[in-house]
């Protein structure tokens, strides 16, 4: 019963076999959870290792003699000095300083960069990138490739059976490896707050590779539900909620993603879309900022919920909200007016016409376990 308007990843039949509950996400049929349920999948990831299908994300290679220079004209990143094999988080910005997408970039050769972009953004990203720098670089979208993530403290140990050298890779480095005959591009990275990897592999081979990994004692499948609760506990942004075309990197509290070399006083300042606004906010501070928001009681506060102060003035909005299984309490992030973003500030969330006590808190809710 395939819906012809939906895309299916090469692991679709495996998901079905495993009893996944499938949902439409960014035009893809994706597993939201398996029979164990989101909480169990979440806990398993924090304690062992979980396999996530993230093949819906876009994989793009940008190459050419001046690829680094071209990419610097559309993103506030340091591509030119990026070491080979280095994996980095970056942002595509628009002229208003808003975020078109957040993505991962690895320099795979002197003149070649590999991008992993959000599923919901990939068509727009490709159009945007082609429009801006298509004349100067070669852009290749790898529709034939699948992407899986193995996340959790046991991930590297599990893979050591085939790739013992993987333990030499530090978090945010990437390279080519061979897993049981499958040619893989592996980055030690992920979006769960845990140690782990993302594995790019041919769509033809991904099912056998996934089955091989799932056959290991420490590994269980996990879906988008656990991916969301894990990333929220880790204080990581979800594009479309915490990041949009109307939110700047500074407002999103992602200043760390803009290197000094691209700021005023650096070697190559500006010359990317939205520079004037972003630099002004870097210098003077933004009017609003993404912060952690902890509901005081047990009631979850969901995305879109208004935040008000004691005088009932609206001071912001929840951008991501749910329940954190590792800390067994509701958690959220919100975009709030700068005057109320001090840690421990008490505010209220308007939930179903009543007010729920919340406080501004530090992120992440659960400490990152990256092996740097």
């Amino acid at each position: 019963m395939n819906d012809k308007n939906l895309h299916y990843t090469p692991l679709h039949s495996l998901h079905t076999e495993l009893g996944a509950k499938m949902v439409a996400f960014a035009n893809y049929s994706m597993p939201v959870q398996y029979p164990g349920g989101i909480i169990q999948e979440h806990q398993h990831t924090r304690n062992h290792a979980s396999l996530f299908d993230v093949s819906h994300m876009g994989q793009i290679t940008i190459s050419g003699e001046n690829a680094g220079q071209a990419l610097e004209s559309i993103m506030p990143m340091n591509f030119i000095d990026q070491p080979l094999g280095q994996h980095r988080y970056g942002l595509l910005t628009n002229d208003a300083g808003g975020i078109i997408d957040d993505l991962m970039v690895t320099r795979i050769a002197t003149d070649s960069y590999f991008l992993v972009v959000n599923a919901g953004c990939k068509v727009n990203d490709l159009r945007h990138i082609t429009e801006k720098i298509g004349k100067h670089v070669t852009i290749e979208s790898h529709e034939d490739k699948a992407l899986i993530a193995l996340q959790g403290p046991a991930a590297i140990d599990v893979l050591a059976k085939w790739v013992p050298e993987l333990s030499n890779l530090r978090f945010m480095q990437a390279s080519n490896f061979n897993i049981d005959g499958n040619q893989c591009f592996i980055s030690r990275s992920g979006y769960s707050g845990e140690d782990g990897v993302e594995i790019s592999v041919s769509g033809d081979q991904v099912e056998s590779l996934a089955k091989l990994l799932l056959a290991q004692d420490a590994v269980k499948p996990a879906g988008l539900g656990a991916r969301d609760s894990l990333r929220l506990e880790a204080g990581l942004c979800l594009y479309g909620q915490d990041l949009t075309e109307n939110i700047t990197p500074v407002e999103a509290n992602l200043n760390w993603a803009i290197p000094k070399v691209r700021r005023d006083g650096g070697a190559r300042p500006g010359r990317y879309p939205g520079y004037t606004i972003i630099q002004q906010q870097l210098t003077q501070g933004p009017k609003r900022k993404r912060v952690g928001v902890r509901p005081i009681g047990k009631a979850p506060v969901r995305a879109g919920t208004e935040i008000v102060d004691a005088e009932d003035n609206v001071v912001g909005v929840i951008t991501s909200g749910g329940f954190g299984p590792s800390i067994n309490q509701p958690i959220a992030m919100g975009l709030l007016e700068i005057s109320v973003t001090t840690i421990d500030t008490r505010l209220f969330a308007r939930v179903r016409n009543r007010l729920v006590d919340v406080e501004v808190c530090k992120l992440p809710f659960v400490a990152h376990q990256y092996k740097r």
């Binding site: 989101i38 909480i39 539900g225 329940f323």
Partner: protein, 124 residues
């Protein structure tokens, strides 16, 4: 006697005038593991179809509509600490509240067990 709504609530008559209300097994299965339940106030007066409780899972919040009109008599306070009772036993220990009915004839408009099973089949 037990009756069902199209929104997947159940109402079981405990006497001629009082009933227990909950969500069905199908509803809890759809929501996934529950982490929070908001129950109505005792003595609140509620009309049939009103949003009267909220059941929240990790990923979503679901409104519970009252299957009947009446006055809230008691709520299942165990759900404050163990909302997962609904996942474990939606039709039993996972009940939400008891209600004193204004008009027991409202029940005639609801589905009985076999109607509800047929309705579930139609949703597949």
């Amino acid at each position: 006697m037990i009756k069902y709504t199209e929104d997947h609530e159940w109402v079981r008559m405990d006497s001629d005038t009082d009933a227990t209300v909950g969500i069905t097994d199908f509803a809890q299965e759809q929501l996934g593991e529950l982490v929070y339940v908001e129950l109505p106030n005792i003595a609140a007066s509620i009309s049939q179809g009103d949003d009267c409780a909220v059941v929240e899972s990790v990923k979503a919040a679901g409104d519970v509509k009252s299957p009947v009109s009446g006055t809230i008599v008691s709520c299942n306070e165990s759900l404050d600490d163990t909302p997962e009772l609904i996942n474990e036993n939606a039709m039993g220990e996972g009940w939400l509240f008891t209600i004193n009915l204004d008009d027991p004839t409202e029940l005639e408009g609801l589905m009985d067990e076999s109607d509800y099973q047929a309705y579930l089949t139609s949703l597949e």
